[in-house]
């Protein structure tokens, strides 16, 4: 460097842009927040304002009563995830955000299904429920309520199986997720 014609130390052509990338897959963000009034509104308000779509959202206590955990899932095909996490980090009450790697994460969701089944189809429904390791939590003459836990895929598969029997209602909690191994999520 220094003399004209000497080799440049860095070539501009080789620089690559970072950020703003759409990953194209589902992301599970695990967010630790201070347990203060309005925190959830700040998060959801931020998503609405920036035009980010939340697929599922769950909030619950942690082992520290000052801190809550928000688990939310969103589609990385629609949003640049780095921009989402950077905006979330700007919220003063947000302590930590982890974008969980699917391969290194255990994710579970709970769902309740109310089906309009009577004697004729009840046995068949219960059999499907057993295959999915679900539970029967309520039965009446003309209905049955089933509880299933698992990944989103499993719950969606279960829904496809039981829908033809007469699905009255379905309720899902949205996913919670925890990282595999010894380290904290």
């Amino acid at each position: 460097m220094g003399e004209p014609g000497t080799k440049e130390l860095l070539s501009l052509e080789e620089l690559e842009a970072s950020g703003g990338l759409r990953t194209g897959r589902k992301h599970v963000l695990s967010i630790l927040v201070e347990n203060k009034p309005g925190v959830l509104t700040r998060i959801t308000g931020l998503f609405a304002r920036r035009g980010f779509n939340i697929d599922t959202l769950t909030v619950g206590p942690t082992d520290d009563d000052q801190i809550s955990r928000v688990t939310l899932t969103l589609d990385g095909a629609l949003h640049p995830i780095d921009q989402v996490t950077k905006q979330l980090h700007k919220l003063v009450n947000v302590l930590k955000i982890r974008d969980l790697e699917p391969a290194e994460t255990v994710a579970r969701e709970l769902a309740l299904f109310k089906l309009a089944v009577d004697g004729a189809s009840r046995a068949e429904v219960m059999q499907i429920c057993e295959i999915f390791r679900g539970k029967v939590v309520d039965v009446s003459r003309r209905s049955i309520i089933l509880e299933v836990t698992g990944t989103t895929d499993k719950i969606e598969a279960f829904e496809r199986m039981v829908r033809p029997f007469g699905l009255v209602e379905m309720m899902r909690t949205g996913e919670i997720a925890i990282s595999r191994g010894r380290g904290e999520t």
């Binding site: 130390l9 620089l15 970072s18 309005g38 509104t41």
Partner: protein, 558 residues
């Protein structure tokens, strides 16, 4: 002591010498505390005026501004200044009163969900639920407002809690585990940026308000001096680099110079420092700076790669990063002669397309001439505030700002009515400076009532209304893009601004003759007390050059 007395102690501990506000039912205890607190309180006529005054104070001094309002309408009147401060990263603490805790949520008299209404527009806010939290919340509010990327912070205090008896213990530390701004910049990235600058043959330094906020103007000048880097500033950064200067290209963006916009268009490396690629800068995004690689320096990581993916992202305070970048760059010993060709190209644009206008053949005052005259009359060294519209753009173009914090305007939000109260606040913060407001005849009427504040408090500002009888920028767009179908832009029978000034106890002057304009302006500036000058200018003049909306920079018109 009463919580409100503790609030006064907090304000003093934060070095607050003045606040701008208006009392009401829910902040009566606070106003009682002001009686003995020894903190100057400027009584504004509308909370929005107080909020903008606090912004003007903050922008002129670099210190945190403070603005007060009562609950309900007091707080909702503050919404515009809050959003304005958020968009332009202005450090202001807003203290609002709230109804009694037992009335919260009952639609009590003058109750509004202040926290909810302002939530999308604050850097942070505190809803006080326990009077013991008040001192810590106030100190944290100041810390948040001024650190990292500055911004508005709101503290909402129910009136019963503000009367509670609490012990005041000075708070010397702030504990915000979720808030740790990165200021220093990654050393490796800074080295990479220096190397990229040394390799660039067509570099541009694109400078934004972040440099002003960080107090990084001296470091910017050093970087520019380290080689012959061309420099352009956004509307928010004017003065961060001195105008005129051989390396100064002028402002960029929609009404920037051709030299600045063409340089961005052809650059091979753009070093963005504390700016955010606003749509008024980029024009059509897909055609913005098509050949450029980007270094992006910003204290707010979320700005980096938000609009334009950065090749070398650097999170940090502009001042700290620039200082290191200068050292790294100097160590490389780059050869300046590589920029020769680039400068020839830039000089060509400058010669072919200087800023200019056709002056009148008679005594009529062209608006651009008015700004140039005010530059002469003030020695080019006044603090200048503006409203929003044509007069703002002409001031940005023709009042060459030599230093940062001399140009105070509403950039991001574009708030009409900002200029007069901002000038009031700037003058309170900088009593020894000449403070002028260049206002539009439309805009000025939005916060005209603050003339009364100026008179009562003896705040010596000079307001120059660029009176063209129109909502001029809207008229320009209707002329250019809506087939000249003027719709609701003619201001018709204005108030007589000279009489209006008189009614407010200020001095009113009307100027219509360009031949004596500079001298007449000097006389106005030398008149003691607040002065309102009605300058009649050409009615249908357009701001040029211009990147038409949705167009690329290289297709500038005018």
């Amino acid at each position: 002591m009463r919580a409100v007395d503790a609030v006064m102690e907090c304000l003093k501990a934060e070095g607050v010498d003045v606040v701008f506000g208006l009392p009401g039912g829910a902040n009566l205890p606070t106003y009682d505390a002001f009686v003995d607190a020894g903190i100057r309180h400027v009584l504004v006529r509308h909370e929005a005026g107080g909020g903008h005054a606090a912004e003007g104070y903050a922008k002129a001094t670099g210190r945190v501004g403070v603005s007060l309002g009562t609950s309900g309408p007091g707080a909702t009147n503050l919404v515009t200044p809050i959003v304005d401060a958020m968009m332009d990263s202005v450090p202001v603490v807003f203290l609002t009163g709230q109804v009694r805790t037992d009335l919260l949520g009952t639609d009590g008299f003058q109750e509004a969900d202040t926290i909810g209404i302002t939530m999308p527009a604050v850097k942070h806010s505190f809803m006080i639920t326990d009077p013991l939290e008040i001192p810590r919340a106030i100190h944290e509010a100041f810390y948040l407002a001024r650190s990292g990327r500055p911004g508005p912070v709101l503290v909402d205090v129910p009136v019963d809690l503000s009367r509670a008896d609490i012990p005041y213990v000075p708070v010397s530390d702030v504990h915000l585990p979720g808030y740790q701004p990165t200021t220093e910049g990654n050393a490796k990235q800074i080295r990479q940026a220096a190397k990229a600058l040394a390799a660039a043959r067509r570099p541009v330094l694109y400078v934004g308000g972040g440099v002003v906020n960080a107090g990084g103007s001296a470091e910017l000048r050093e970087l520019a001096a380290a080689d012959r880097f061309p420099v352009t500033c956004t509307l928010m950064a004017l003065g961060a680099f001195p105008a005129p200067h051989p390396q100064w290209l002028g402002m960029l963006g929609m009404h920037g110079t051709r030299a600045a916009n063409y340089a961005m268009d052809e650059a091979d490396l753009i070093c963005c420092i504390g700016a955010r690629f606003d749509d008024r800068i980029t024009g059509k995004l897909s055609e913005f700076a098509p050949r450029a690689k980007f270094i992006h320096i910003d204290v707010d990581p979320a700005e980096i790669s938000k609009v334009i993916p950065a090749h070398i992202p650097i999170v940090g305070d502009a001042k700290a990063v620039l200082a290191k970048l200068v050292a790294e760059y100097r160590a490389l010993g780059a050869d300046s002669s590589r920029l020769e060709e680039w400068w020839q190209r830039i000089e060509g644009w400058r010669e072919r397309h200087p800023l200019g206008y056709t002056d009148s053949a008679d005594s009529e005052i062209r608006p651009q001439f008015m700004v140039q005259s005010l530059h002469k009359a003030t020695g080019g060294n006044a603090i200048v505030t503006s409203d929003v519209g044509q007069h703002q753009m002409w001031t940005a173009q023709y009042y060459d700002f030599p230093e940062p914090r001399r140009w105070i305007n509403s950039g991001g939000l574009g708030t009409m009515g900002f200029g007069l109260p901002a000038a009031l606040g700037a003058k309170v913060g900088c009593p020894d400076e000449t403070v002028v407001c260049i206002a539009g005849d439309g805009s000025v009427q939005m916060n005209m009532q603050e003339m009364a504040t100026c008179t009562q408090e003896g705040i010596d500002i000079k307001v120059f209304i660029m009176n063209n009888g129109y909502l001029g920028m809207v008229r320009q767009w209707q002329e250019l893009f809506w087939d000249g179908r003027y719709s609701q832009v003619d201001m018709g029978a204005h108030p007589d601004f000279v009489k209006l000034a008189d009614a407010y106890g200020a001095t009113g002057i009307r100027l219509t003759d360009k031949t004596t304009l500079v001298d007449d302006m000097r006389a106005a500036l030398e008149t003691p007390g607040p002065v309102l000058v009605d300058v009649r200018v050409t009615q249908e003049e357009n701001v040029y050059p211009m990147i038409s909306p949705g167009q690329a920079a290289r297709d500038m018109v005018g």
